[in-house]
Structure formats: C-alpha cells, structure tokens
C-alpha cells in the first residue's frame, strides 16, 4: 500500500464516522482491570440488551482500553453525553439502558464517583478527576477500540508517520523532538531528542530500536495501560524513531506478566504489516522497518537497558557496566535506541502539533505531561495524565478524591524502589523532575503510592528493600549482599529488636551500596530507606527505644 491508498482509507473511514447513523455510542472499558471485574460479560449482556430492544441501528458498542478510574470498574460510558456508570454488572444493564437511553434520566447513584462526591456529574468530564487532567499520551485510550486499526486511523493515527516519511528528513525529525524538550519516561528522564541524535550519528550497516515495556516498578501500570489501550500509538512512535535514527528493525520487550498487552500489541503488528505500515518500503517510501515482540520471563532487573539487551540475546538478564552505552554498542553489538513505552507513545503528537507546542506544556525543565498510576490508600486509584508541574495536592485530593476512609495523607512514594517518599509537609510540591529530586525522591516511571497515617514508614522501607533484595540479579556483591544486610537490619528494627548501632550500620551500608553497585537497581536501592529516614527518623528511633 502506498501513501495515496492510506489517505483514501482514512478519508473513507472518516466519512463513515461522520455519517455515523448511530445516535449513541456506548464505550465499555476492556482494560485488564475492568475485564477481571467482569467487563467482558457486561459487554456481551449489553449487546444482547441492545439487540433485544432493537436499538442496533441507533447504538454502537465499542470495547475500549483503560478509561482511568480503575478502582471503579467495570465502567461504561455513554456518548455523546460523556455519562459514565461505575461498577456495572450484568444485572443492572437493563435498567441503565432504560433510564439513560429511553427515559433520558441517568441513574444518579450509579454514576461514576457517586460514592465519593456529594454530587456525581452526568457529564463525567466535569468531574475534577477528568477536568484536571490533560491527556496527550492517553488521548485515545478509553475512546477507541484498541483492536481496530481503523479506529486509530480516524483519530489521526499514522498521520505523523506519513508526515515524517514524506515531508521530513531524519535530521528534521530529531530537531523537532529536541525542540519539544521531551525527556524519557522510563525513569531517568534523559532528553529523548539527544538520545536519538546520538544513535543517528553512529555509522553502522545495522541499527536497532527497542521499546522498553518491562515495567516492573511496584505501583506502576502506565505502560501496560498504554499498550492495552492504544498499541498503534506505540508502534507509530517506534516507526518514527526507526526512521530518525536509521534503523530497520525494532523489538518490543513486554513483560511476560502482561498477557493482554502482549496480545493487543501482537495484533497491532499484524494489522500494520497487512496495511503496509510495517515491512519493506513503507507507504511507498524508501523506509523499511519491522517489529518483533519479545516476551519477558519475570525479572525486574531486565528493565535496565543493558540487562534487557542481554535478555533479548538469550542470556541471563544481568546489567553490564556502561559505557559503552547501547547507543554505541547495544543489541548484538550494534547501535541501539532504547526508549520507554510512554516515551514512544508521546512521539506522534509532537510530530503532529510541533515541538514548540509540546515544549510549552509543563514546566521549563520538564516539558509535556506525565502519566501517573495512583495506588495505595487513595480513594480513586487508577491511571491519570497531568501537565508536568501539577501539584501533588491536586493529584491526591482533586483527581484522586482524597484518602480512603477519610484518613490523613501521610506520604506518597514516587519512583518505586528507586525513589523516595514525599511527606505531608511537602504535599504542595510541583511534580516535575527537579522538584522531586530536591525533596530526595525521583520522578521514576510514574507509580504514585499513597500512604495514610496508619502506614508505618519503617515497614514501607522494609518492603521496598525486600523487593530490591529479591530482584537483585546477583552479579555484583554490593547489591546482592548489601540489599540483604540492609533488609535484615530494617526488619530487625521493624520487629522491635533493633539498636542504635543497627541504625548507624544501616546508614553506613546505604551509602556504600549506593556508591559501589554496578547498575541502577543497587545504586538506588537505599533510596526509600534514606528518604524515610530523612522525614520519619522518629519512627525508627521510637522502635529502637521500645526495644
């Protein structure tokens, strides 16, 4: 298929959409979370109900990816009114359809957030949960059917690829991404354009693009939801990256524990191949590119880029020292670009709207938006996207609906086992890379674990250390032995058997492990400990005194 053919298809699909005979659409969230709470049965029942009432010509039912408020699933949304019902089950479908469509009187007590808000909104977009968000990466998640390429095409899908292939050189693309000031979303926040430029500059007959979908930080589920909700967006980002750096082969490394994400991404690859969006001479251009999926096998450390590459090569996923960086010598020794899922998902909008547009969102040093996964003791857990620089307070109270059971907010953990906690006195912090570092934490990949006043911080430090101990690959001694020793000491204190000397020893070890570990896992493993010590030292001391 060439460029013209694609445009013809898009026109046809758009026309179809505009002449849509349906008066209503019903979106049924089919993210992994909603599926497990029964959304597939709801979908079936809804289809039956519509058929029975002979409304098939008026109502279209669309299975979609994650809508965000995962805790409230299964969710169904009525368009064009944006009315969302929560915790829907098969037994109340008939009455929902009757009230919403026939009588036009939404059932208030079943609307989204009816159990948290004094008044639930009939138009869910007016609820602070949605109003305070800005969706760029997640834009089509929850609105399109992730298993239909046509749905993506209608929403400007592959428009950026078309633009890149026929109107831009590799240098232009890189300049645009640099201009956007986008930073990698995998955790370290390295400038994306700069990374692309580095790979571009290495001369080699073979280069690779890798998408890092090994998401394993406790509390993180951004990448899973993007892969499940809009796989073509990630694929398009990888294609554009391949064009920019001069690669013709890509690998998407997805966690083995994410079967639905794998299934949907595999389907997307198949569809793209069939349409000529992957393969030789894409859309009739000189650019050829193909993508393979690699499924992980359960090792957190494989998210680290050099370990991930070792894993693709069929080895144990152990990191190696850098340099050389993958950009110079990556997969099978070839220059390799490796970016995170969310990073790739952000590329197409930058190409479509321009780097300037993106750079103006967020804060001067942290451009754009960030997807966060809300978990822990928060009322509305789920997936959100906000401009960089949004305050933690807004996220927890306006978007997240506050703390469960009206308890007090005590702290939020960012950056998972590599990050730290933000205590209540800093709840007004602006969520961007620099501000979080100033508080001794990091942005990390976007997991935001909320803790209430009943959470014991020594215990929190213990479970993060336990995680690092379990996930240490064992290659370097400081990490392998150090995380175990620190874990045992924290546990001793937590169990009320610790001494002052244990605490001193713990602090010494933390510095030592931080400075001497081979990779980021060990180097950052002491962070949750140090951060809880920084803000909640009294809790350690109380436990020691009681001992």
């Amino acid at each position: 298929m060439n460029r013209k053919d694609l445009q013809t298809i898009i026109y046809a699909e758009k026309a179809k959409e505009e002449n849509n005979k349906y008066k209503y659409k019903i979106h049924v969230c089919c993210g992994a979370g909603c599926i497990s709470s029964g959304s597939e049965e709801v979908l079936k029942k809804l289809q039956e109900e519509i058929k029975q009432r002979e409304l098939e010509n008026e109502i279209e039912i669309v299975p979609t990816g994650c809508m965000g408020p995962c805790n409230q699933g299964p969710l169904i949304k009525f368009e064009p009114n944006h009315t969302i019902y929560q915790k829907v089950d098969c037994s109340n479908i008939a009455s929902i359809v009757q009230n919403q469509i026939i009588d036009k009187k939404p059932i208030e007590e079943m609307l989204l957030f009816a159990n948290f808000r004094t008044k639930a909104f009939i138009n869910a977009q007016e609820d602070p949960f949605f109003k305070k968000q800005l969706k760029i990466t997640l834009k089509n998640c929850g609105d399109i059917n992730p298993e239909k390429l046509e749905d993506y095409l209608v929403h400007d899908g592959y428009k950026a690829l078309d633009k890149v292939l026929f109107e831009m050189s590799s240098e232009d693309v890189i300049a645009e991404i640099k201009h956007s000031r986008m930073r990698g979303r995998g955790g370290a926040g390295y400038p994306t354009g700069l990374k692309w430029e580095t790979v571009y500059k290495y001369i080699s007959n073979q280069k690779y693009v890798i998408c890092n979908g090994d998401e394993g930080d406790p509390g993180a589920f951004m990448d899973r939801s993007v892969l499940e909700g809009n796989p073509h967006r990630v694929l398009e980002g990888m294609l554009i990256a391949g064009y920019a750096v001069g690669a013709n082969k890509g690998f998407a490394y997805i966690r083995g524990e994410y079967p639905l994400a794998i299934k949907r991404f595999e389907l997307a690859i198949k569809q793209a191949r069939k349409m000529g969006l992957l393969g030789n001479n894409i859309l009739g251009s000189n650019f050829s590119f193909d993508i393979e999926i690699r499924i992980g096998a359960g090792a957190f450390v494989c998210g680290e880029e050099t370990a991930l590459i070792a894993s693709i090569e069929g080895k144990r996923g152990t990191p190696r020292p850098r340099p050389p960086f993958p950009a110079e010598s990556g997969l099978w020794g070839k220059p390799t670009l490796i970016n995170n899922v969310e990073t790739f998902a952000g590329i197409a909008p930058i190409i479509n709207n321009g780097g300037e547009w993106y750079s103006e969102i967020g804060t001067p040093k942290s451009a754009g938006t960030k997807v966060f996964a809300l978990a822990g003791k928060i009322n509305i857990s789920g997936l959100i996207e906000v401009p960089m620089g949004t305050s933690l307070h807004e996220i927890v109270y306006d978007i997240g609906g506050g703390i469960q059971h009206d308890h007090e907010f005590k702290a939020a953990q960012t950056g998972g086992p590599s990050g730290g906690c933000i205590p209540a006195q800093h709840i007004d912090v602006k969520m961007d890379y620099e501000s979080l570092i100033n508080l001794g934490s990091i942005m990390g990949s976007g997991g935001l674990i909320i803790m209430d006043n009943y959470t014991e911080m020594v215990d929190v430090a213990r479970f993060f250390m336990e995680f690092c101990m379990d996930e240490s690959c064992g290659k370097c001694v400081p990490c392998r032995v150090g995380t175990k020793m620190m874990h045992d000491l924290i546990k001793k204190i937590n169990d009320g058997k610790g001494t002052k000397i244990d605490l001193e020893r713990l602090e010494e070890l933390a510095v030592y492990v931080k400075e001497t570990s081979l990779c980021g896992l060990g180097a950052s493993a002491p962070n949750p400990l140090l951060s809880t010590l920084r803000y909640f030292r009294n809790e350690y001391e109380e436990k020691i005194q009681k001992a």
Binding site: A32, G33, I35, S36, S37, C70, N71, G73, E215, G216, D217, P218, G219, A220, F221, D223, R224, R255, G256, E257, Y258, P259, L260, E292, R294, I295, G296, A297, G298, A299, F300, S311, I312, E313, G314, K315, R316, G317, W332, A373, L374, A375, G376, K377, S381, G382, L383, Q413, G447, I449, M451, T455, V460, F463, F464, F467, D470, E471, C473
Partner: protein, 168 residues
C-alpha cells in the same frame, strides 16, 4: 503430563521463533523457546526438557540452565493445574495482600511454592503485576483476579474445582 518432544505444529513455531534473529544468533530465541516448551510440556520445565531445548538450539545445556533458573516465570518443578500468583508487593500489601496470602495458605494447606496433593493448586507469591489499582490481586492463567477478599478467594477455588471436574 511430563516431557515429550515438540509436535509438528510446535516445531513450526520453534522455527518461526528462531528465524526472527540474525544468522548465528539463534541463542537469542532461547527465552521464547523456553516459554513454548513450558506451555507445551505441562506447565513446567524438566531437566530433560531443558536438554532438549539446548539440543534444538545447538547450544550447551549449561547455557539453558543458567537462563531457566534466572527468570521467575520458568517453573523447574511440576505445578498444579491452577497457579495462584498472588502479588505481595507494597501497594497490594497496603491493601491487605498479607491476609489474602495467609488465607489461601490456610484454605489450601500449602505454602508459597507448594502444590496441593491433588495436583490442582500451586501458590506462588510474585512481585507487582502492574494491577495495583485493584489491589489486592492475583493472576490466574491469563487473567487478573482483583479486589480479593476471603469470599472471592473461596469462589475462585470453587470455580477451579468445578472446571477441573468438568474437564475430567
């Protein structure tokens, strides 16, 4: 079910997996081939199965052992028909996963890593499965089971027993 050899269809899949990688890099297919072997040979990898994979890929058995022991998704012991992979990580713990694990241990009479005598259930504790929005949770086959409570656990066990009875 113990170890056999790949049947024709599985061999075709094996060849497809190997063909994805450049000449001379057939070892790269090791992880996907181990996934395939585990799926094909009853949910776990015996020593024989590991040797067979080494032979197929023309690499040393030690290269296969090294990898199979490193990754937590490869089972080196027989597992039950239903594997409860319960998340034990922080966010799930904050929402009570400890109690759920304890409850499953008591109900089924097994500890993590063990299988019930009737070969039906294996309990496994795992790290964050990226489903913290609906904690506490577990994975069963390809599906998440979320917002776990004792009642839900009972219902899941019941459902598995029923399915097993039907399949027999």
């Amino acid at each position: 079910m113990g170890f056999m050899k790949f049947n024709e269809q599985q061999l075709a899949e094996f060849n497809r997996l190997v063909a994805r990688y450049p000449e001379g890099k057939q070892k790269s297919a090791l992880l996907p081939v181990l996934h395939l072997a585990q799926e094909s040979f009853g949910g776990w990898l015996s020593e024989e199965a590991l040797n067979y994979v080494a032979e197929l890929l023309q690499i040393k058995p030690i290269e296969v052992y090294e990898v199979a022991t490193f990754y937590s998704m490869y089972h080196l012991k027989p597992v039950g028909k239903y594997v409860f992979e319960v998340c034990q990580t922080g966010p799930c713990m904050l929402r009570g996963s400890d109690n759920i694990i304890q409850y499953i241990e008591n109900t089924l009479g097994i500890k993590p890593g063990e299988t019930t005598a009737d070969g039906l259930f294996t309990l496994k504790t795992v790290e964050c499965l990226g489903a913290c929005g609906y904690a506490p949770m577990m994975q069963l086959g390809k599906h998440y089971r979320e917002h776990l409570t004792k009642e839900k656990v009972d219902a899941i066990i019941e459902e598995c027993r029923k399915n097993a009875a039907v399949n027999n």
